[in-house]
């Protein structure tokens, strides 16, 4: 019989954890969510020496407090699900910060092995780490690795399995100062009596640190422990002159610092490395901005150029099956429904997902893995701050210009629910690639490129104003930027490709059912002959308030499916692609503005529901439709005053 083992990978962000995960599990992995949470869970399996080993890649975190969902999930998993072993991935080039986390894992009582990763990067920075000494000091096996080149991975696996087989891992507990230690022990004895799900010593330390989650749980078991804890914490505060949680964190860092100093030898490197020079240039206070603009424009331009070409080729190819299909099923209602409803829905999904989304994700993860995204976040922090978000939120915003769906999912990088929702709202207002096609194809072509640009400027102003209004009306405090700046490095191709692949499959799972379903519904409405009545009904708004032609209302409805359908439908309904001959410039401008602002497409709504729940997604949708109609009407009246050529 195959024996099963579970190993969890834990460590700080960007230490090469996912590279090790990919090296270990190869293609046998899947990424899902932790049950009931919007935090990613990557899981994979491998076979080694007769074992079937389940590997879980925990989120990259710096602490096991409850500041973020990721930290909470990680500590619950390690302490309650009890994997057979935790591999703590440690970045040898930033040893002290990483050891701070290692010490917390030890306190949590996790059986562990350390993968001392990026020893090559450390050496280039003049840092040599004595891994044997580190192992002796911590009482934990340490394996040096260079994951990106696959070095040390096999050894790591061997040591991991041997450690599990031996069954005995005794990491050395860290000691706090005597006055703190006495109180931890006193509290731990009390906790041990009530039988809490976490280890007693760890619980005692967390209580003194002021951890609210642990405090609530203990209060339910025995409220007297909490009052004793408060007394003890006050005593520590009096002795040290700092709050108790500060004292504990400081002392833990002090231990990390002492260990790091014991095991590392630093020889200063005189010449700045390529990575350092790149860093100085790309986050330079003046040059950083033009470099960022040029980089992003180049990326967007190449994605659009590539996507446009591939999309045309793909759609020509797929539509090539239409005659064959029709000859098999014959012309009729069924054929119309299946081809026009289901298959055209699928084709539209494929012609967007593959040509645009894939290169977008690929380049984005290249940028992320290399370290450039954090420089962009650094540069854009001041702008995002105005709408109550910090620099990291610029990343989903950037994504949104490609497609709103991944952007919505990308809001997960924000720390709290509040920031996620706020970022999600802003992101759905941003014109995606499909919207850009409409604006350029209608306004850019028939009114003038300067008017198309004006629309973008107006849209940016609106996004900014609405973002700010949302920020002011949401309860809670904004959170400032706090982010580790990693050195630049070459992206790991396999990890980037894996990420792209999983994002793509996530996109397909969320978006495709909705695209096909709504395509079917709209086709049915058309076939039943409801288009006329719908159009007449809509003309109350579209004609009377927005000054559009009645046909335009129907094409806006089609835009729910995919935004560029607004233009395609318009051509079908008006029976011409020379929009300039049938529409006035004002009508085209208003139409484009409404397309930019109203309802994110059905796939985006689905993504919103997944991330923020049905109620919030519904609210965002209704609000944006109402706002688009309002703004469109105002624009109609303002533009009518001007004389547009």
């Amino acid at each position: 019989m195959v024996k099963k083992l579970t190993i969890a990978l834990a460590g700080n962000a960007n230490v090469g954890k996912s590279v090790i995960f990919n090296q270990l599990t190869g293609l046998h992995q899947h990424i899902g969510n932790w049950p009931g949470k919007t935090v990613e869970k990557a899981e994979g399996t491998l076979h080694f020496r007769g074992y079937e080993i389940d590997v879980i890649d925990l989120p990259g975190i710096y602490s096991l407090s409850t500041f973020s969902l990721e930290e909470l999930i990680s500590r619950e998993y390690i302490a309650l699900e009890r994997p057979d072993l935790v591999i703590n991935v440690v970045d040898a080039s930033v040893l002290e910060r990483n050891l701070f986390f290692t010490l917390q894992l030890i306190e949590l009582g996790a059986p562990m092995v350390i993968a001392l990763n990026q020893v090559d990067v450390a050496e280039r920075k003049g840092i040599k780490v004595d891994h044997e000494k580190l192992s002796r000091l911590l009482g934990v096996p340490v394996v040096p690795t260079i994951a990106i080149r696959g070095l040390g991975i096999y050894r790591l696996l061997e040591v991991a399995v041997e450690t599990i087989e031996k069954g005995e891992v005794r990491p050395r507990q860290i000691l706090y100062g005597r006055e703190v230690e006495e109180r931890i022990e006193k509290l731990a004895r009390l906790v041990a009596k009530v039988g809490f799900k976490y280890p007693a010593r760890w619980t005692a330390i967390k209580l003194l640190e002021g951890d609210r989650e642990v405090e609530e749980a203990i209060r339910k078991l025995d409220p007297t422990i909490i009052s004793i804890k408060e007394k003890l914490a006050r005593e520590i505060e009096e002795i040290h002159g700092h709050p108790c949680s500060t004292v504990i964190t400081s002392e833990r860092y002090e231990v990390a610092n002492r260990i790091a100093e014991e095991v590392q030898q630093i020889t200063p490197i005189a010449k700045p490395s390529l990575s350092q020079r790149l860093d100085a240039l790309t986050s330079h206070r003046l040059l950083g901005y033009p470099i960022m603009v040029v980089t992003l424009l180049a990326i967007f331009y190449s994605i659009f150029a590539f996507g446009d070409y591939v999309s045309t080729v793909l759609s020509d190819f797929l539509y090539g099956f239409e005659p064959l299909f029709k000859s098999v099923l014959g012309e009729g209602l069924l054929e119309e429904l299946i081809w026009g409803g289901i298959i055209e829905g699928l084709i539209s999904g494929v012609t967007i997902a593959l040509p645009y989304i894939v290169p977008f994700y690929f380049l984005l993860y290249m940028l992320e893995d290399s370290g450039y995204l954090s420089r962009i976040a650094f540069l854009m922090d001041v702008v995002m701050h105005k709408i109550g978000l910090h620099g990291k939120a610029f990343i989903p915003v950037m994504l949104a210009y490609g497609c709103n769906v991944p952007a919505c999912l990308g809001c997960r990088i924000m720390e709290t629910e509040r920031e996620r929702l706020l970022a999600g709202f802003v992101v759905t207002l941003i014109p995606c690639a499909a919207t850009t096609v409409v604006i350029l194809g209608l306004v850019g072509k028939f009114v003038g490129i300067e008017w198309a640009l004006l629309l973008y400027v107006v849209d940016l102003a609106i996004v900014f104003a609405l973002g700010r209004a949302a920020f002011k009306s949401l309860p809670g405090e904004p959170i400032g930027l706090l982010m580790e700046m990693h050195d630049y490095k070459l992206p790991h191709m396999k990890t980037v490709v894996n990420q792209t692949w999983f994002r793509l499959s996530e996109f397909i799972k969320i978006a495709f059912p909705f695209i096909v379903l709504s395509s079917l519904v709209i086709k049915s409405i058309e076939l039943v002959g409801l288009l006329e009545p719908v159009s007449t009904f809509l003309s109350l708004v579209t004609v009377n308030w927005l000054g559009l032609r009645p046909e335009m209302g129907v094409s806006l409805v089609f835009g729910i499916l995919r935004k560029e359908l607004t233009l395609i439908m318009l051509a079908t309904l008006l029976k011409t692609t020379d929009f300039g001959s049938v529409l006035t410039p004002v009508q085209m401008m208003v139409f484009a503005l409404v397309t930019m602002l109203y309802i994110p497409c059905i796939a985006t709504i689905a993504a919103c529901v997944k991330e923020f729940g049905f109620k919030k997604a519904f609210f965002i949708t209704v609000f944006e439709i109402a706002f688009a109609i309002l703004a469109g009407g105002v624009a109609f009246r303002l533009l009518s005053l001007l004389n547009i050529p």
Binding site: E96, G210, M483, E484
Partner: protein, 90 residues
């Protein structure tokens, strides 16, 4: 002399003396704010060096415990430091 971290110039170093609370709305927000900074190694007594300052009141980058951190200006204003003076001409 205690000054906010945001007042340091590029290349200057200081020792953290304390962190001011973030909010006036009870200790909840404040605990999270302080704890987050501490967990990243910004504990009292720690030496930090300012390595970069973004323009227009943007974030600053500091070197702390051998790694670099980007820090929003608002947060930097609440971290008090004792500036380390040069005492020998280099």
């Amino acid at each position: 002399m205690e000054i906010p971290l945001s007042a340091l110039k590029k290349g200057e170093s200081g020792i953290i003396t304390s962190i001011l609370s973030a909010s006036r709305r009870g200790r909840g927000g404040s605990w999270g704010f302080k704890k987050r900074l501490m967990d990243m190694g910004l504990t009292p007594g720690t030496e930090i060096t300012v390595t970069k300052i973004a323009p227009f009141g943007g974030p600053i980058e500091i070197c702390v415990r051998g790694s670099r951190l980007a820090l929003g200006r608002g947060m930097a204003e609440r971290i008090l430091v004792r500036i380390k003076r040069e005492w020998l001409r280099s």
